[in-house]
Structures are given as C-alpha cells and as structure tokens.
Symmetry: C2
Subunit: 557 residues, 2 copies
Amino acid sequence: MAKSDIEIAREATLQPIAEIGAKLDIPADSLLAYGPHKAKVSFDFLKTLQDRPDGKLILVTAINPTPAGEGKTTTTVGLGDGLNRIGKKTAICLREPSLGPCFGMKGGAAGGGYAQVVPMEDINLHFTGDFHAIGIAHNLLSALIDNHIYWGNALGIDQRRVAWRRVVDMNDRALRQITSSLGGAANGFPREDGFDIVVASEVMAIFCLATDLEDLTERLGKVVVAYTRDKRPILAQDLEAPGAMAVLLRDALAPNLVQTLENNPAFIHGGPFANIAHGCNSVIATKSALKLADYVVTEAGFGADLGAEKFFDIKCRKAGLKPDAAVIVATVRALKSHGGVAKDGLGTPDVEAVRAGAVNLQRHIANVKKFGVPAIVSINHFVTDSDAEVAAVKAAAEEMGVEAVLATHWAEGSAGTEDLAHKVVALADSGTAQFAPLYPDDLPLWDKVRTIATELYGAADIQADQKVRNQFKDLEAAGFGHLPICMAKTQYSFSTDPALKGAPSGHAVTVRELRLAAGAEFVVAICGDIMTMPGLPRRPAAVDIGLDADGRIDGLF
Amino acid sequence: MAKSDIEIAREATLQPIAEIGAKLDIPADSLLAYGPHKAKVSFDFLKTLQDRPDGKLILVTAINPTPAGEGKTTTTVGLGDGLNRIGKKTAICLREPSLGPCFGMKGGAAGGGYAQVVPMEDINLHFTGDFHAIGIAHNLLSALIDNHIYWGNALGIDQRRVAWRRVVDMNDRALRQITSSLGGAANGFPREDGFDIVVASEVMAIFCLATDLEDLTERLGKVVVAYTRDKRPILAQDLEAPGAMAVLLRDALAPNLVQTLENNPAFIHGGPFANIAHGCNSVIATKSALKLADYVVTEAGFGADLGAEKFFDIKCRKAGLKPDAAVIVATVRALKSHGGVAKDGLGTPDVEAVRAGAVNLQRHIANVKKFGVPAIVSINHFVTDSDAEVAAVKAAAEEMGVEAVLATHWAEGSAGTEDLAHKVVALADSGTAQFAPLYPDDLPLWDKVRTIATELYGAADIQADQKVRNQFKDLEAAGFGHLPICMAKTQYSFSTDPALKGAPSGHAVTVRELRLAAGAEFVVAICGDIMTMPGLPRRPAAVDIGLDADGRIDGLF
C-alpha cells in the first residue's frame, strides 16, 4: 500500500534552514529562523540584491479543476526538484495554505507523495504567523471603523454602508452574516456585518502585491472602508489606520524559506483567494527568488483561465515580471472528467473520453500563448493511466504546437521530472517569450472584462443589468478605470456554469457585481456565487486530528 | 529629559538568544529560535530536567493598583537583574502582554525605564504567536459548536444556552454582543453570541495551568461549551474538539525565552486575565525556570488581594509550587492615592497621606503572611518622593514585622536593586516559608469564597441572591465542589467598590454570578462588572503607531 503524505514527510531528512539558504547564497545571519526548518529572509539582505539580474520565471498552471485532481502544487514542487536534479539553481514559490480549511474537508496544501514541501504540519498550520498578522491587521481596521462611529462619527460614516467586514482564519458559516454592536449604548451603533476567511481579506491581496513596506502602507491607506450618506468613500487613511496596520504586518512581509523533501529551497509566502483576489504568492517572494536563483517555478490558483490570467494581467503587469515559460498541468483522469466521465468511472481506460476532454487543455494552451508565453504540458501520472490515454493527451498538445511530457514526481520525486525539467529549461532559455498582458491599462473596465471573456473563455459577449453597468461607469468616473480586472467566477468551467466542462463557446458571461479593491489596485468582476467564508462539513477533519503519544500530529493530510 | 522606554530599549545591546540560553545551561539545539532574540525551549529538553532540584520561587505582587502606577513588572525585571548582579543564577517569569490593548490606551507591558524585557516590540505584538494559536484554537471550538447544530444537532445543544463565546485579540466593543448565523438556512440557526478578548478565553487559562500536552488535551476536553434544553452540559470532548485544539496549541505550549536589558534570561509565557482567570504566566514556564535557575522571580496580576491570592490558591495549589518569598511593591504616590490624595496632587510631599494610605500596604502584608510566605516590601522610587515619605512607608512595613527597601531600577537598572536582591535572597534562603493555600480543597464553594472575603478582604460576610445560591448548590451537586475559587472583582479595592481605597473593613461582598471553568479547573465568583472585551478610546494609540523610514516601529509604548 502506498505511504500517506504525512508518512513520507516524516521519513524525510530535513536540512537545517541555514543550509537551504546557503544553496541560494543567503548568509546565515540574513535568515530569521523560526525553529530549525523555517526562516524569513531579512529585508536588509534582500535590498542588497536589487542590481542582480533576474533568473527565468516559470509559471505552473492547469486545466480547469475537476473532482479528479490535477496536482498543480505537486508539479511545482516536482519540477523544482527536477531542475535542481539536472544542475539548475532553482527555487520554487508557493502560496501559504489557509489554516481554517485543514479542519474542514480539504486537508493540507503542501504538495503530495514524493513532491512535498516540509515541515508540512507547520506550513499547513501557523507557519511563521503571516496569516495571523494579516487577520489582526484587518480586524484592527474593523475595530477602528466602529470606534470612530462610536466616538461621534466625525467623518460621517453611514453605518449601513460599511464596506469592510471582519475576518477569521476558520471555516465558520455562523459568522457569514451577523448584527454587531448590540447590547446598548456602551457597545456602539448596531449594524449588519459579517466575517470572511483571512485569505479573502483585501489586506491579503495587498500583502501579496506590495513591493515593500512603504508600498504596503500606501496601499493600506487607499482601502475604501465605508461610504457616507452621500456616497463619498471613506478610506483607511481617513481613520489613520495604515501605520498601525503596517506595524502588525512588518515582520510577516519578509518571505518565508523552507525546503522540499529533496532539500531544495522553497519560498512560501502569502495566499490570496483565487476568486475575489488574484491567487498568487507574494510579489516580494517571487522577486526575491528571481534574484537568488537561476530558475524560479511558481504556481497560480485554479485553472489557467483564472489563475494564469490573473498572474499575467495583475501580478506580472503590476510587478514588472516577465515570465519565460508556462507549464500546464493535466491528468488523464481530469481530462476524462472533462470528456463527460463520471467520478467513479475515471479509473477505467477511455481514450475517446480523453480526446473529448482534451479540448479543455487545448483552449488553455491557446490562451497562454496569447500572453506571449511559450507553454509545455505536464501530464501528472496516475497508475491507472493507460499508454493509449497518455498518447491521446500528447497528440492533443501537439495539435496545438506544444509538447506534453509525462511526469511521475508523485511516486518518484525528481527522478520523475528529469525529462520535464530539461524541456522546461530549453523552453525558458529559448528566448521565445514575448510576454504582454492581454489588455492595456487604458482600456475601459467594461472592455477589459469583455476581452477576458471573449478571448479566453470563448464567450460571445458579456452582459450586466443597468445597476452593474452604472457601477462600471461610476468606477471609471471615480478614476479607477485604469485598474486591471480580477475575475471572480467558477473555477470549474470556462463559462459561469460549473457543470459546463470541456471548452464551451458562444456563451454569455453575466457580471453580477463589481467590487473595488482600491488598495490591492484591481476591480473584482463577480460573475457567480463567490463564497468568502466556507463552512465545515458534516464530519469535519478536525475530529480526526490530534496528537499521538509522542506529541506528533495525526490526521492532518 | 528622561528617555522613553522605546529609546532605552533601542539602545540596548541584545545578545543572541543562544547566549541567554547558555546562562541557564540550555543547549543551543534545544532552543527553537524565532529570529535572533526569541526562542522556545524544546519539550524534549525540558523533560530531561524532571529530577533536578527546584530553585527558590519569589513572587512579586503589589498593593491595590491606583492611577499613580506601582511598577510590578518593572520591579520583577529589576529584581531579576539585581539577583543576577549579585551573582545569583536567576530567571524571571512574566505574562505575555495582549496585543489588542497596545492599540488602545495601555501601551506595552514589558517593564519600563532601565528594567525592561526585550525585544519589546515583538513581546508586545505577535511575539512567538502564542496568543494567535490560543485564539484560533478557541474559535475552532466555536465553529465546531455551530457546525454541530447546523448538521442536525445530534447532541441536542440548546442554542440559547451556548456557553462558549468567540475571541479576537483586539479591543473591539462592537463584537461584545452580536447575533450570528443570520442570512438564511445555509448559514445556520441564528442565536445570540459575542466575542471576548483572547486573554479572557478559558483556553488561555487552561494553557497557563496545563502541566504538559496530555494534561492540556484532557482539560480542553472538559470545557463546558453549552447545555441541552434539560440543562445537561455538553463538553468540548463531546464535539471531538480537543485533539485538533491541542494540535493548534502544541508549539505554543513550549515556554518563550527572551532577555532583560541587562541580558539576563526571562521567560514570558501565557497571559490570562487576572479577573475572570488567575492572572499568572504558565505553569510550564515557572516549573521550567525552577529547574534551570537557582532563583525565579515571577509576578501575578493586579494587587495581592487578587493576584497573589490566585497565584497561591490556584496556581501553586494545582501545580505543587512552594513559594519561598514574596515582594510587595508599593510606591509613595500610590499610597498617597490610597490616603485620599487626588491624582494631580500626588507630586506634592504629604507624609500624613502616605501614613493614611499605608493601611492598604499593611493589609496586603498581613494577607501574604497568612499563606505562610515571608514578605518584603519594595518601594518603587519616583524622583518626587521625599525622604520623610519613604521613611513613613518603611515604618508602616516595620509595624507589620517586615522590611521595606527602596528600589531605583527604573532609573538605574540592577544597580538600583542590589540591596533588595540581597534581602530577598536572605528571606528566600531563610527556610521560614511554610506555604499553604488559604483554604482546603474540600471546603464547600460558598465557604471558600467567604474565607477569601473575610480573611483577606476584611469583609464581614458574603451575600448572594437565591439564584446565585442555587448556582453554588448546583455546582457542588455536579461534582465541582472541590475546585478552587477564582475571584473576579475590582482590582482597585479590597471591597467590591473601586472607590473604597485604603483598607476597608466590615463590608459585605456580593457574589453576582458563578461561572464554571471546568477545563481550567476553577469556579469564577463574579463580584462586580467584569469587562471581557475592552473598547478603544476616543483617540486610539493606533493612530500614532507606524513605521519610520528605516522600518522601525514608532509610537508603541
């Protein structure tokens, strides 16, 4: 029987974090250790790297996710190890997992099999405290808003129009909608409120897009927290909140260094939602890694329609990053799912279904090329995959002019990604990348959304009712027309219908609402039900999690 | 002009934490570093110390606090430095400050002047993440309660009788009373709820009283989270919550090591409220320090009526600690306040007022002796104190058969506590301590409260209405009669009236409510308005807190 992820992780021999840092020539005294196997890299050291050339940037993205699983994080780790194996100085950059979902259904998010980052328990739980810092900085602003109203409300905040909810790093549906300030005059003015999970906080998005502490503070100040009765926006800086918030975030903003099972360096820093936010690790981590390594492998949330698009159009645009290659992860099982096979039939060979589902992969290949980034497909191998099915995926990729490579890192670690690594190096070093965002800054917001929907989703057009159309106009008029769009739609389909698998075309994308993230500097276009506070399942993972007699963590996967 | 605390702290030369650990013979690899100047001491190492003899335990307590300030933490730090200065291997044990109040009015809680623990910004903010871990463990249990109700409520929880609120580490009055689970069926069953600040969580009290991870888990399981319609208690273990909560608390439970300005070792670990909880640092930190040092100086919250009593009757009773001496901190200014002088007159010499107020000090001296612990008074010197006033304090102490020593650590560091240190050593080494709790375990709960009130507070008797008397009976009947009492009353007076200074006698103490803390293993007797969620002032400290151009923290005092 195959070993569980945690069993494999426990058998790993971790190196002291100073040795991992040394692989990137980080001096030991520039590492702020959090125990023996985690460290933050000091800003003072990072500042000295400004003039170094950047390494090559490789994005790992995927087809639309299915219940079959794709293994994007696993591939990022496996490819990073493969590149190191073939002698390339490589670092990977991942998002930090959210603690709350570990106690629900999801399990950890630190890779799997022989392609994991460690110490996995730490990474999945408190890690270096970044999310706690983000949560408390967010909630300080919340407290300052209600406190301002309580003490006379000099700014004239309309308590019906507070736009800043509270956050907790927990799946807690009971907090989605509340009334606060009950209990009489001493507790303030009752109003409707609610909690989001920490990863959905705009502070998280800001944290991940900020280039330094100054930029962070400035962005925090621009957050719109509420409106007056005459709909004038009230900003965080009007409450004099950004300084204290930045103080709470200062230490967290330094990137975290850990290692893979094969003792290669991994930066894990920041983790914004991939629907109402942009779903990539921090700009600071990626930029630091590019100064320290010759190759940097990073991933973006969900499928390429959401994750890669936002990575390119938001993160790369804003941070001036130039990706050199993209790896699109697919599995035979997931393509069968896109080809119409139900979950319990995914283990049965079905070449026709793979061919039918491969249209999803092909659309993503075409899309990535539209950003000027050369692509390669990585087939994340499962033991049930037949040779004919694998051949069908390769053929589908070749039709699009790209190569598909079988990768077996889950079972074999870096030995299973050597071939992929060589080909990714060739692609990244080919000089063929001509990265450009999909749309220019000065395109109107409506046209930006329309471009994404028609160019990438295969939609015929976008639509919105008059109220939402007015939101577009209002945001343009208020001077936010230059911001990029952050699409919030289902991750399961190119359309807004999660059941529409494959590569649907000609559909309409309905924009239901726009939300301004003035500090993060994007406009969220909501095209479906977006959940910003998950719930726990009937039997939460929490009930199976505990400490064994040796104080080790059981039940966390 | 005198330097500010933060200016003094910044001028300090900190030693690497491994050097601080070496002073207590802690091997470097038993320190889990959190940056260069903070570390947790590993459980594996602490387990090896079991058979070592304990050092001497010295409690620092105080007269009833006044707006003038007493300087208990400052004295704890100064005395620890003084003991080290005279060649005694000494560690101090302090509570961790709560982050929330730093952004309100209070400022930091890491000592002051030349008697501080450092790095003060870290200690006052996230430190090693303990409070974040406690908060999220608490809120996981909250989420599991509502989730259980949502998925069918097999245990029959009466949602009107949920006894477990939520927590946040922030002064946020808007969350004191809320209604949760609004918004329709998908969000659960609406009910009344509210948030406390993290330090008021029973998880915090449990954390500070637990002797190891097993004890922690067992105590978490016993927490009463709700009642059924027929008033049967529902425990955390009924929800299978303790394992996951313990996982979240595992790393936090190892004690934190930092240093004083004079590079002496300081354990700072845990920080429960001193009203609805027992107000002492963790048992694990104190016990570890006793194995590692020859002298351990620790403090308890508020004045000796609350802090020392709970330290003796709850912490020492439960953990089997035997204190060897007590230092009672007083200031001339505070005694003048007890003698009836208003705040703006405290700078004017007034020997008569000092004499009048000294009855407060004398009552505390007598009380500490009732526990069989020899005492000494430390006069925390202010420049405005006249010689005659100081002499009056010394005379008042002598009347009670104890010595009073002038201490000038705030201005001079350990040079100002040499005399105190020599006398404390003499007292602790005298072998005169015959510690015993004030009341036996088997005394009925009512009589326990009565004993505290009459013996220590000078009250004639206690009183309660029939509903509360029934609570006493119900708790006895439910098998909780053996638990110690945790008094929750104003810290400003021996009575329940905060305005009654000095040493009132013959008053009645009204018990308004009992609260069971089954996991912490005490019964809280509430004798006044106890605030478990502070608010922010009109001009919160947060607005003056920020980062300077070098990324240093400004405005945090």
